[in-house]
Amino acid sequence: MFANSTTWSLLADYTEEYAWFPEAASTFANDIDWLFWFISIVCLVFFIPIAGALFYFAVKYNKPKGEKAESNTSHNTPLELAWSIGPSFFLVGMFVLGAKSYLDHRTVPDGAYDVGVQAFKWGWTMDYGRGTFHPELHILLDEPTKLSMRSSDVIHSLYVPAFRAKKDIVPGRYNYMWFKPTVASTKVSDQRLQKAKTKMEGLGQGWDYDELQFTPDGYSFFDLYCTEYCGKNHSEMQTVVVVHETLDDLNAWIKKYSKRGPDVDPATYGEALYERRGCAGCHSVDGSKRVGPSFQESYGNQRPLANGESVLADENYIRESILYPKEKVVAGYQPAMPSYKGQLSDDDIYCLIEYLKTVSDYYTPEEPAAEEQASEDATVGADEVEPSEENEEGTDESVD
């Protein structure tokens, strides 16, 4: 407010192409940036004379001790009224512009492309329908996008700086927001993507978005943050927004993540789910203790529970823990996990269990017959779970 973007860009920004604001990538951005600068200029119009007068008076009227003031005017009502009422006009202007723009931003246009957002400690699940869930938000260029957001634990807030859009996500109710992206993500060359993939695999720590500045699918992205403090890993509750240029491109991407491909091994897919669906945030696979127990000591292990009993971590137990995590909590841990009921398909759970088997120290592979049995179980399980999804969604939502 007391400096403009050019001076600041010299000081503050030596690498980035943008200075005071992140890239303007939605229809809101121009409105808001314009209003921001309008307010800032009005403020400067007041601030520069105030600061100038302040220092000028301090020097000009600085006198040795004992000198009397030149004037002892006690008040001047017209002057005081003028400077009380005068600035009010600017304030009214700011208010009206701000409120108008705000109303525009609140009214969701009809037929907006709808994505479900589930926020939890500490990650995001975007629901693209038909059982496609992914932590990244993928949307379409120049198409209004509506987010129907809910939280499964505490208050979160979804913020995309490039879109200048933000909304809290309050548990117990749906909150909605929308925006219309105007800048598309670019795609990096396959070569570069391949190179990055090899590098990341070598490091073995998952995908480093910050360092690479593109997603595992090779898209450049906009940052998406949680801005309502939500606990330990609040600052890691970030994901990315990818804006696709064409619907086909978007649909292709969605399709890629919709289901396990016919030739993908369940455990491999399970590992991808482990990374993608936020399990990795709380459960390690190397035995280290995080918010939840490590998967290294999970499958096939006899676990003591918080209520004093103990249970064998078999397939049924793992399934129950995914769907009803607060039922049987392992001793020494908080019942902090959100339910994945209605979010993981039966095949997903099956794949996760297969993956858990591979990382567990307590599992010894048996003859293949057992595995077939397991997958049969899974199919039976599917019938059980499908109808209850609706109930689950409804319950969480019943306060509005």
Partner: protein, 581 residues
């Protein structure tokens, strides 16, 4: 008029107090302090307490900044790094707000000054005053207890449902805040009653120094808003222990209700923090410009206006929480109205300096810094009050920078200014002027270096309360950290200057600055009973009888030789009439 020669007339100066008069020395032993009912001693104890709390929370602030030196976190390491960071910023906020800023000016300076400025012997309820201090101590113990039990990681706002589900010691901390609320109510109640009923004859409402007006407005807020915080925290405790389900979505409650309850107190609390600062600055600017305050009534009324309007704007903390459009817009409009009275004050202070006789003493340097910093803090509030821009800036570093400009650049700087201004009165010692001015300069530079970059961080989208951040923000964060260290050095410098004066300082005259308010009419430090007999109440901002006595390095009040003509000076007549004490 010139230095050295005083005009003819009766020179009035109370001289120096004897040991038995001096409130610091008139009784000895630790118990005489712990059980004192003297408002001045209670004020001094509060001063020690809040400064200790500030030092503690300040160290926490430095830890925050040091951690943010690197994107992945520099100070805390390992699996619990984020948790440690969260606890540190929570305690920094909670201690600064509840233990330092709220009681800083009203309880520490106010307790010392209100009765003296008013011309009363004590506050109306001295024992309530002492119990208010001990409640503060108990509250502080609960906070420290929370720190040692299992920490606190909710943020100072205790938002549900996070605060009802986290396994840190929320109950201890909320109990502490509840107790501190009572401490604050007691202080406020005491001041309202004191100012209403204890004014000596001649002290009319419009002869009160503006610091008293500010304290009065603050007290109104303390009395009206704090009980709501009390019940909110009580319900939060009940929510955690019995799951009463009012704020918990799991039992059909609504977390946003908690935010409404909380901010109904905590927004007015912002004015509890800043209004006394306005009072201090009004007095400082006037005394050190040796010129009548410009627009006394506008300043006085605007304090009251801020106190009342401050109750209507709490919703602007929830612009993104999903309130109805109409509610949101109404809160935005009300938010703008509250900015007008603050603007009035800034203009009035400038007009007071215009054509004054300014001495650039340490307190005046702080006052000038205050006006500069507070104006920035106030103007950036407009960006946040405007709905559209708030959608972008809400919960980012822009907010952090904004409220630090108001709370630190405003309240803290005013507190320091007030402390330097009244230090000779409180302890009877003069400090090193040069040291004081240097500390002010370092604080000014350090503060701006810390928080200016945060405005840019915010508008670039850096969310607040992040333990780690994206690498593109690193440079600005590093700037901010360097600034914070500098700010720490400046504050340490100020502390050293003041402490040094206690041991090596020159004895302070009764009126070292040339003030005209009543506290300068009694000795430095004041005697136990403040005033031997009910003081003569004059215009608090009339500097004509105050003259510089270069020989003795002091200001004195020179009463022009009186002509025996009735009604020549009608103002002083009633005060004489009451001198039958």
């Amino acid at each position: 008029m010139s230095t050295g020669s005083l005009p003819a007339g009766e020179i009035r100066d109370p001289g120096f107090p004897t040991r038995s008069e001096n409130y610091l020395t008139n009784s000895k032993g630790i118990l005489s302090w712990l059980f004192t009912l003297d408002h001045k001693r209670i004020g001094v104890m509060y001063l020690v307490g809040v400064v200790a709390a500030f030092a503690f929370a300040g160290v926490l602030a430095l830890m925050i900044r040091l951690h943010l030196l690197q994107p992945e976190g520099a100070l805390f390491k390992g699996a619990e790094a984020n948790n440690q960071y969260n606890q540190v910023f929570t305690l920094h906020g909670a201690i600064m707000v509840f233990l330092f800023i709220i009681p800083s000016i009203p309880a520490a300076l106010g307790n010392f000054l209100v009765p003296v400025m008013l011309g009363a012997k004590d506050v109306a309820f001295p024992r309530m005053n002492l119990s208010s201090f001990y409640l503060w101590v108990f509250g502080a113990i609960f906070f420290i207890g929370a720190l040692f039990a299992s920490g606190l990681d909710t943020g100072w706002t205790f938002y549900t449902p996070y605060s009802t589900t986290t396994d840190t010691s929320v109950i201890l901390a909320t109990t502490g805040a509840f107790i501190l609320g009572f401490s604050s109510i007691f202080t406020g109640l005491n001041f309202i009653v004191t100012i209403n009923t204890m004014r000596p004859p001649g002290m009319t409402w419009f002869r009160m120094p503006l610091f008293l007006w500010a304290t009065y407005s603050t007290s109104i807020i303390q009395v009206l808003a704090t009980p709501v915080l009390g019940i909110t925290l009580l319900l939060l405790i009940a929510e955690r222990t019995m799951h009463i389900g009012i704020f918990d979505p799991e039992f059909n409650g609504d977390p946003v209700t908690f935010q409404h309850f909380f901010w109904f107190y905590s927004h007015p609390a912002v004015y509890i923090m800043i209004l006394p600062a306005f009072g201090v600055i009004s007095d400082l600017i006037s005394v050190h410009s040796h010129k009548r305050i410009f627009g006394y009534r506008f300043i006085a009324y605007s304090s009251i206006a801020i106190a009342l309007l401050g109750f209507l704007v709490w919703g602007h903390h929830m612009f993104t929480a999903g309130m109805g459009s109409l509610t949101t817009i109404i809160f935005s409009a009300l938010t703008f109205t509250v900015s007008v009275p603050s603007a009035i004050k800034v203009f009035n202070w400038l007009a007071t300096m215009y054509k004054g006789s300014i001495s650039l003493t340490t307190p005046m340097c702080y006052a000038i810094s205050f006006i500069f910093l507070f104006t920035i803090g106030g103007l950036t509030g407009l960006h946040l009050g405007t709905l559209a821009t708030d959608q972008h800036l809400h919960d980012t570093y822009f907010v952090v920078a904004h409220f630090h400009y108001v709370m630190v650049g405003g309240t803290l700087v005013a507190f320091l200014g007030g402390l330097f201004h009244w230090w000779p009165k409180m302890f009877g010692k003069l400090y090193s002027e040069l040291g004081g001015r240097i500390s002010c300069g370092i604080i000014f530079v350090g503060f701006n270096l810390t928080f200016l970059p945060q405005f840019v961080l915010g508008s670039r989208g850096m969310p607040r309360r992040y333990a780690t951040y994206d690498p593109e923000f690193a440079f600005l964060h590093q700037m901010s950290t360097v600034g914070a260290l500098l700010l720490g050095v400046g504050l340490l410098c100020a502390l050293i200057v003041l402490l040094h004066s206690l041991f090596r300082g020159k004895r302070a005259p009764a009126n070292p600055w040339g003030g005209a308010t009543l506290e300068w009419h009694c000795t430095s430090p004041p005697p136990f009973y403040n005033f031997e007999r009910a003081p003569i109440v004059g215009d608090p901002y009339d500097f004509t009888p105050v003259e510089w006595d270069a020989e003795n390095d002091r200001y004195v009040t020179v009463e022009p030789e009186r002509e025996i003509v009735p009604d020549k000076q009608p103002e002083t007549a009633p005060a004489h009439a009451s001198g039958d004490h």
